[in-house]
């Protein structure tokens, strides 16, 4: 049959070409002009996950979340990129001689975004709200027995026990101060009511994809924040995140080591810092479900079994350094000698296993945690080399936390960041990270001494004792201290935040 609507089709084709041409033109316009329209005073950052709630009790200190809530909430103290403490909402702080009372002098004239003033009563309300909550941070303020407002601008924390991490924590989520009016409401989960250097632009923001913060010019330290507007865009996948950074859709983003070379090739600046140790957590130290792990020689053998340097180089592209300890370089308690305590030595591992009575190895089940998917097969394979037959147990993403903390697994791949004192706290039977509630009298003794150390030298010395004990007893099998990597465009400079995944928001500045 002869065709009759040829002409119509060619018109259609012409239209399609026109649309393509049009989009191609605007494409070039868009990409060249995109950076300028909001001016250099806007900082756009890519993040991998959204912040689900602004309720102070839902905030916590780890991961990227800091970047998203620190702009809107002042803390009692301010943390510096090298983990030092500076005045925040508290201008001065001091313990009494017995370390049972912490006195804070509060900043005057601070108001929350809802207009409520910041006073000693506010501190009391916030700490009590946190203590009463089921939040994970509640444990941190648990030692604060009572909050006593002395006057408008002075508050005392009466402590049941001394916790050396308390001050540091008051610079993180536990020290977040929100308007007492908003505490405990549903609304605050969506709209933060803080006194931070920025406020959330609720109208402009699209939850789950783009958060916009506008500068709060009233803020007491306004000068420290050079950007008028902050924009946070969520890209869950590293590919999308790096693409966004490469194409200039964002000025900076955390990336993985796998993407680092590509980012560098694209002209992005890489900022890296050791963020935390990565390796195998050996939790069942009393052998409740994996009896073999009760023998320290077995745990040591496992430590010897990993070719840490090779894993570091091949999986992380060398971003980090191999180590056998959980304390990071440059932090109090770090002992350079411990980095090589368990140098890769499969022969030695087999010997130790034989000594422990397992010349033919044994069976061990480890969960395939989705966020550690790349590492678990390596663990299994390397342990198999020394005779430990590892079964990998599938884990649904929804069951991840239950598998980790439910006491069902004797060991699993883990990544753990934070300061030295954070590492020490994780050893306590109170900590969720002490999954099988392992105890040891010698360790407890060392820890309680370390807790009391206030001077820097003393801290370094006592922490080192704890560190050495943990490494010698092989409570973990760290492989290396892994770097966090943050890329920035040429428009932005940034300073890393040691032992953390992302920089502090105050560390970003326009490039000169």
């Amino acid at each position: 049959m002869p065709m009759t609507n040829k002409r119509r089709l060619s018109v259609l084709a012409a239209a399609a070409v026109a649309v393509l041409a049009l989009s191609a033109c605007t494409g070039q316009d868009g990409s060249s002009g995109g950076g300028d329209d909001q001016g250099p005073r806007t900082l756009k950052l890519g993040v991998s996950s959204e912040l689900l709630s602004y309720d102070p009790v839902d905030l916590n200190g780890g991961g990227e979340g800091n970047l998203l809530w620190m702009p809107v909430y002042d803390r009692l103290l301010t943390i510096t990129p090298d983990n030092g403490l500076e005045p925040g909402l508290a201008t001065e702080w001091a313990f009494d001689d017995s370390f049972s009372v912490l006195t804070l002098e509060l900043r005057d004239g601070v108001t929350f975004s809802d207009g409520a003033p910041f006073t000693a009563e506010t501190v009391k309300a916030n700490i009590e709200n946190l203590k009463a909550s089921s939040s994970t941070e509640a444990g941190i303020v648990a030692p604060i027995e009572e909050v006593v407002p002395v006057d408008e601008n002075t508050v005392e924390f009466h402590l049941a026990s001394y916790d050396p991490t308390l001050l540091y924590q008051l610079g993180l989520a536990a020290g977040v101060m929100a308007s007492p009016e908003a505490l405990g409401t549903e609304e605050i989960k969506l709209n933060p009511v803080g006194s931070g250097p920025y406020t959330l632009d609720d109208q402009g923001s699209v939850r789950g994809s783009e958060l916009i913060y506008v500068k709060n010019d009233e803020h007491w330290n306004s000068d420290a924040y050079p950007y008028e507007t902050l924009v946070f865009k969520t890209y869950q996948d590293i590919t999308a995140r790096l693409n966004a950074a490469k194409s200039g859709e964002v000025d900076g983003a955390p990336i993985t080591s796998a993407a680092a070379a590509e980012a560098e090739a694209a002209g992005l600046t890489i900022t890296n810092t050791p963020a935390g140790w990565l390796g195998l957590g050996l939790f069942d130290r009393a052998g409740q479900i994996a009896p073999e792990l009760a023998d320290v020689r077995v745990r040591q053998a496992i430590n010897y079994a990993f070719d840490k340097q090779a894993i570091l180089e091949n999986v992380e592209q060398g971003y980090g350094y191999a180590t056998s300890q959980t304390f990071a370089e440059g932090q109090p308690g770090y002992d350079p000698e411990l980095d090589n305590r368990y140098e890769y030595d499969p022969e030695k591992a087999r010997e130790l296993l034989a000594e422990a009575g397992y010349p033919d190895g044994f069976d061990l089940t480890i969960p395939d945690l989705p966020h550690m998917a790349a590492y678990t097969p390596i663990i299994a394979d390397q342990l198999k080399d020394v005779g430990i037959n590892v079964t990998i147990k599938p884990v649904a993403p929804t069951d991840t936390l239950a598998e980790m903390f439910g006491g069902q697994n004797a060991a699993f791949a883990m990544e753990f960041g934070g300061t030295s004192i954070g590492q020490i706290t994780a050893l306590s039977t109170q900590s969720v990270w002490n999954i099988f509630k392992s105890t040891d009298e010698e360790l407890s003794q060392l820890v309680s001494v370390a807790y009391k150390a206030t001077e820097e030298d003393e801290q370094d010395k006592t922490y080192r004792e704890v560190n050495r004990w943990v490494v010698d007893n092989a409570w973990f099998a760290p492989w290396y201290m892994k770097d966090s990597i943050f890329v920035t465009s040429s428009e932005v400079t940034v300073e890393p935040w040691v032992t953390n995944v992302t920089p502090l928001i105050s560390s970003f500045a326009p490039a000169k």
């Binding site: 996948d237 796998a258 070379a261 590509e262 091949n314 790349a374 097969p377 599938p394 649904a396």
Partner: protein, 595 residues
């Protein structure tokens, strides 16, 4: 001889779906090759634990995200495992998922379809409703949502997917069961010994086996893609290698190992592609062998058609003033093997002005093909040769647009089956008026008035209502009147009427014949009346041409023919019309042998 007789071809086509299906399927390279590839994938998959070059969970640290090399032929993944070995092993879970989808969807679709179709009533309506529900559910979103309950379990997930897509099969089976069941009621008397449900089961299962394979193949392909998609989202089995999971890993490491996304992509594409090709080839094998598409059909090019046997029958010279002269007309259809199936083989006939010519023969004798040749309304793939001259105009040489001016206005057509010859989506009025506006250049108003007059003329009681009605709102007899009105609407000189009364019941038949006769007298039109019914011929025709197997075997005046039939075939036709009992095929066979 490469030409098959129409009878042979008919028999072949009728037999084809049964015996020749497998042969036809495998002789098609697009069926054979994907089947071999798929079989190879299945074999590799089953044998993967033994043939994989490496243990798929073995990690080699300097092979993390490596490019293809001599150790890892397709490179290493994000944990330093062999991509090739994992690809091979991953095919197992994919195939398990695929088989699960196939089994679940076929079982659920078949059983529910049988139940709904056979039991009917509320069971049918509720099952149909459930299936409509399933059809409208976005399966991926449901599977993602249910992931929070099911967890990463490929078999359960794919089983649910199988249920979600079973409606495609349910609909097919249900329709078939209902069709077979209705047939059973009609023939219930003949059924003895076997229970209805057994016959039903046998009938239906026999009828649906090929469509089931086609549909299931499609569903399995869809299942493989869905499975890969879910795995890519991170909702797949975390411990066993899967293609989608490998894609996810490759996606994470796309910057270090850009080739990584290629291999699982190819594996998925190859498997799903083969399934899709197999389904296509199966469908082709089930259908009649596709005629080769020809762009030019007016000129006879086919060698086989040109070598057609010499014209048979009486070649009586047409009178000078004949309205239409058909001489040496041949019509053929190209076959898959390049030969032609000749259905009209050298036909000569003529029609005088105002004359009614009966064209008689059995179905398959080529009479309808001859009629369509005159109108140049043969299917696209038909090839034809010879001459058709209408008032001195050689119709076969006209261009389509020239022919278009002849159709309707000078030669019109009355079809056999009234309902199927009206477009169900337009009103009767629309279908009557538009041709008048196009061919006669009437305005819409004029055409409307004329259409209503015509409707009245052909004996429709309420022309206004019928004019506004849709075809499904009128009876078959009325529809045939409408079609006659349409045929005469543009005052043609010749009407080709193709079995105009066959589809109608007896009382209506007589009325329609009366109407045709009246109109013919009134307007002086010539009519070619194609029919198999000598009663109609006797009633209406001036002259008769008898056709058998593509030839005109006898032409004569109606009275002569009835009194003194010359050809044995004519005699056979006449006698069977009178007796109307004996099975025809046997007679024909006897005749053909005797010839």
């Amino acid at each position: 001889m490469t030409i098959s007789t129409p009878e042979q071809v008919d028999a072949a086509v009728a037999e084809a779906p049964r015996s020749g299906l497998a042969r036809r399927f495998f002789s098609n390279p697009l069926g054979l090759v994907p089947s071999i590839v798929l079989a190879a994938i299945a074999v590799l998959s089953v044998a993967s634990p033994w043939i994989a070059p490496h243990d798929p969970s073995d990690t080699i640290l300097d092979q993390v995200n490596s490019a293809p090399n001599e150790v890892f032929l397709l490179g290493g993944d994000g944990s330093g495992r062999d991509v090739l070995s994992r690809l091979l092993l991953a095919s197992r879970l994919t195939l398990i998922g695929a088989i699960t989808v196939a089994i679940v969807s076929v079982v659920v679709g078949l059983v529910s379809g049988l139940l709904a179709g056979y039991l009917g009533k509320w069971i049918d309506s509720s099952l149909s409703w459930v299936n409509n529900v399933l059809m409208t559910v976005p399966s991926v979103i449901i599977l993602v949502a249910l992931f929070s309950v099911i967890g990463p379990n490929t078999v359960v997930t794919m089983a649910i997917f199988g249920v979600l897509i079973s409606p495609f099969l349910f609909r097919l089976v249900r329709t078939l069961v209902i069709a077979v069941k209705n047939e059973l009621y009609v023939d219930a008397a003949r059924v003895s010994g076997l229970s209805g449900s057994r016959i039903l089961g046998r009938h239906v299962l026999y009828a649906v086996r090929a469509p089931i394979i086609i549909i299931a193949t499609g569903m399995v392909g869809a299942g493989i893609l869905i499975q890969a998609g879910l795995e890519f989202l991170g909702l797949g089995s975390p411990s066993e290698p899967t293609w989608g999971g490998m894609l996810e890993d490759a996606f994470l490491n796309i910057f270090r190992s850009p080739l990584g996304i290629l291999w699982p992509g190819i594996a998925i594409g190859l498997t799903a592609g083969c399934l899709s090709l197999i389904a296509n080839a199966l469908r082709d094998a089930l259908e009649e062998p596709a005629p080769k598409a020809r762009t030019k059909s007016v000129r006879l090019k086919d060698e086989a058609l040109r070598r057609a046997s010499a014209p048979a029958g009486t070649a009586e010279a047409p009178p000078e003033d004949a309205l239409l002269v058909v001489s040496n007309l041949r019509v053929g259809y190209p076959q898959a093997d390049g030969s032609a199936r000749v259905v009209v083989d050298g036909v000569n006939l003529h029609v005088n002005k105002g004359e009614i010519l009966g064209l008689v023969g059995e179905s398959g004798s080529g009479k309808t093909q001859t009629a369509f040749s005159i109108l140049r309304l043969l299917p696209e793939e038909a090839e034809f040769a010879g001459d058709v001259t209408f008032e001195g105009v050689p119709l076969l040489a006209l261009s389509e647009s020239e022919m278009q001016k002849i159709r309707g206005k000078r030669i019109a057509y009355i079809p056999q089956e009234p309902m199927s010859n009206l477009d169900p989506t337009f009103t009767i009025g629309h279908q009557l008026t538009v041709p008048m506006m196009r061919t006669l250049g009437l305005t819409k108003k004029e055409a409307t008035a004329r259409a209503k007059q015509l409707l009245e003329r052909v004996g429709i009681a309420d022309p206004e209502r019928t004019f506004r009605a849709y075809p499904h709102e009128i009876s078959g007899g009325m529809a045939q009147r409408v079609l006659i009105a349409g045929a005469v609407s543009c005052e043609p000189e010749l009407i080709v009427a193709d079995e105009p009364t066959t589809a109608l019941d007896v009382t209506v038949q007589a009325e329609i014949l009366d109407l045709l006769r009246e109109l013919q007298k009134e307007r002086g039109m010539a009519i070619i009346l194609v029919t198999h019914n000598f009663g109609v011929v006797a009633d209406l025709c001036d002259r008769v041409a008898v056709m058998q197997a593509g030839h005109i075997v006898e032409t004569n005046t109606a009275s002569e023919l009835f009194d003194r039939p010359q050809h044995p075939y004519t005699r056979m036709l006449l006698s069977s019309t009178l007796e109307d009992t004996e099975p025809r095929k046997q007679r024909v066979a006897a005749l053909t042998e005797g010839r």
